[in-house]
């Protein structure tokens, strides 16, 4: 693999006494789209939380552009050029759509042209422009997701952590979103993506990572992962089932 922008080393951590990540290792090559797949409950989202400093790690390191960023504040991580768009609904329902987007620029540097970026974001998502002055909670599920993506990308990050963006988006919008990620890559931005929509995601990706029970099982070029016969079996989550029974 080429020069990594992000290097995740031996992460151990979880929720309370529950250990979810048990020595997770992988790295994200610079200027690539890397997709993480794995069964439900594998710990994919947990890895993202760990990278973004939202999970107390018991062990391990997160290295971004050669610098140890483990446990930095979110503001610092944003400043360093990482952004995180989590799974589920994460908007400020009582604020207007526009204000929600603008808040994406909170961590911006002083010389950052926020207004222009907001306009650009509204260009990318015409629905949001149409509803810019509405209370964000009145948006439909998919529109809220678009809002989150627009807000998350406002700062022009170097590394995007994006957790299942396709949930709730119409096929057309999924396509658009994936196209957007591709464009980002073409501009040199690195993307770390989690998707259950594995096939489409891997198709646009350079690398694929399969995560199970908190550990990376396969790390390879995306097309090879797609073709890997083990994938089908892994998605069954077989091991878990046996132990629990």
């Amino acid at each position: 693999m080429s020069d990594p922008i992000l290097d995740v080393q031996n992460l151990v951590g979880g929720y309370g006494k529950m250990t979810i990540l048990n020595g997770t290792n992988f790295s994200v090559p610079k200027g690539s789209i890397t997709t993480v797949i794995g069964p439900n409950g594998a710990g994919k989202s947990t890895v993202f939380k760990a990278i973004f400093g939202l999970l107390k790690l018991r062990e391990g390191k997160v290295v971004f552009k050669g610098r140890d960023v483990t446990g930095l504040s979110q503001r610092a991580l944003l400043g360093a050029g990482i952004c995180y768009i989590p799974q589920g609904r994460n908007i400020f329902g009582e604020l207007s759509v526009r204000h929600n987007i603008e808040l994406g620029g909170v961590a911006a540097a002083r010389d950052f042209d926020l207004a222009a970026r907001v306009e650009a974001a509204l260009d990318v998502f015409p629905v949001l422009r149409k509803k810019a002055d509405r209370q964000a909670s009145t948006l439909s599920g998919g529109e809220q997701k678009q809002l989150e993506i627009a807000r998350g990308l406002l700062l022009e990050p170097q590394l995007v952590l994006i957790d299942e963006p396709s949930i709730g988006l119409s096929p057309l919008m999924v396509q658009q979103t994936f196209d957007m990620l591709k464009q980002l890559r073409d501009r040199g931005v690195s993307v770390l993506l989690i998707e259950q929509n594995a096939r489409s995601a891997l198709e646009i990706s350079d690398y694929g990572i399969v995560l199970e029970l908190g550990r990376t099982r396969i790390i390879d070029k995306a097309d090879r992962v797609l073709a890997d016969p083990r994938i089908g079996q892994l998605f069954l989550g077989g091991a878990m089932e046996e132990t629990a029974a």
Partner: protein, 332 residues
Amino acid sequence: MTKHSRLLLAALAVIVIAGLIIIPMNFNRYGLYILSQWAVMTIAAMGLNLTLGYAGQVSLAQGAFVGIGAYGAAILTTHGWPLISALGFVIVICFAVGWLLGYPALRVQHHYLAFVTLAFSTLAFLVFRNESWLTNGIYGISNIPRPEIFGFPTRKPLPFYYLCLGSLGLVTLAMWWLIRSPWGRAFMALRENPIRAQSLGIDTRRYTLMAFAIGSVLGGIAGVLYAPLTQYVDPVPFNLQLSLDLLMMVIVGGSGFMFGPFLGAMIAVLLPEWLRFAEGYYLMLYAAAVIVLLIYSPSGILGILDRYLSSRRTQAASALRAAAQSKLEAAQ
């Protein structure tokens, strides 16, 4: 829960109950009075714990129901009714009023609900104070008799304490049954996610009203014991402060835990007494103690225990996950 820990719990329960029966036998009047007060307040707090802790309906009116119960008992027993029939009367009244008070909860929640019930508390106080023809107003009702239970007089402090303790026991049993029944689960559903609950066929209206009505009845029962305990009822103790105190008992003890109110009432009723040695500073100490307790465990005293138990459970689940992992590793 393992069999072992269940046995341990049963043993603990027996010891506590025996303690509550035996130790006070050589208490002085004051000690018995305070303990009786604890039992009475525990009953009222248990009612609020149902409404608030389990069903998630914020109420600042529980004190008013204690008042309704106390006035009901005071008025009726001074007119020659036996306490038990006064109790019956109060239960019916509190159920009905509690049910009605629940209606606003169908429209508004959280702090808005808190304020509607706050308003009710204030109104109840004004009625107690202003409707002299019924309540004797600010002068209050004195010479409230203590009852005879199965021919045993409870005029003396010790028998009356046993009456309070016995009532607490009965109420606890009933509450335990209620909470572990499907009703209990429905109440919690109301608290956790009313919208989802509705779509699962849970008649949130009826359960909300029930939560208010039953909780209020417990407030009323506490009041029925309060009147013969102090043998004098006036409006002052039933102002908003009592409702706030009861709320505090629930939260400090651990809201949504069966035995939270027992501990909460202990903090609210017994702790200030223990702190009296500090004289002018005792209420300051008390306030500080409550604050420190909440800082240490915002989910209340039983929250500490709960954290411990759930971390043990999580540990077990974590071990299971680790086992699965090594199996997976081995399979490769």
